[in-house]
Symmetry: C2
Subunit: 153 residues, 2 copies
């Protein structure tokens, strides 16, 4: 009886508490074993900067699905490690453009290799079309919730 009530909550639990956390932890461990002293959250910021350097903090918020304070502090920590630097935008002094340092550029290939390796480990026995379906489901879930948020506002 209680199990019927919980069926959907269970899915939430599965999504949030299990696989994604396991992947995150594994990637973190693989970084550490390789002597890399960055967190996966920091890595996810670098990841977007490797794709396009010099993004504003605001743009990083959008691309990493994080809020502004989170990005502020991630950039703080990345700056402490000399992996990025803040450069004021020449056209709008409110904006910080976040730029990679040479050190960060050197990290790109090794960390991407580790991430690919980790995902390969994680995805053993998972078919390509299943991955696509997961992505598609998650896209719809995300859209459902963010669009409903707009309605509420």
């Amino acid at each position: 009886m209680i199990n019927n009530h919980f069926r959907r909550g269970e899915l939430y639990s599965v999504i949030n508490g299990m696989a994604s956390t396991a992947v995150a932890r594994r990637l973190q461990k693989n970084f550490r074993n390789a002597g890399l002293d960055i967190t996966i959250e920091q890595w996810s910021v670098l990841y977007h900067l490797w794709k396009e350097d010099g993004l504003s903090q605001q743009e990083l918020c959008v691309r990493t699905f994080r809020d502004k304070p989170s990005i502020t502090r991630l950039i703080d920590n990345l700056e402490k490690q000399s992996l990025v630097k803040r450069v004021a935008s020449p056209t709008d002094r409110r904006i910080n453009l976040v730029q990679l340092t040479d050190t960060a550029l050197e990290l790109q290939h090794i960390t991407i290799d580790l991430a690919n390796q980790t995902m390969a480990e994680a995805l053993v026995g998972v078919e390509k079309h299943e991955i696509e379906m997961v992505k598609s489901v998650f896209q719809r879930v995300y859209d459902n919730l963010t669009m409903a948020t707009l309605e509420v506002l």
Copy 2:
């Protein structure tokens, strides 16, 4: 070129940063709007206790996929709010059995309704067989990583 390299990392990003976070945030907001002053992490502990009261902290670690310090502090905070109490096991004094209070029992139905509602919002347009496939993929991912961990040890 870089996009080929990133394809798998992107999936990680999607899984970890987007949908599950969005669901978590929405559920948290729905709790708050209902005047409920508990976090989703606290709720996830209560959830397992509603299914089976009097679990040890160790058992809660396993069921919630959290480590021991996390459970210690979640129980600390739940105890502050008088939602659970620690009771020493009569047979092994190392063990704390975590027991629900009457206040926590009263929260069960309203919060489960909110969780179901939230998942219903999130899963609009998602077919039942897709949910099953997501669960199955995540189970395999989790197994891949936890079994590999055992090999490593």
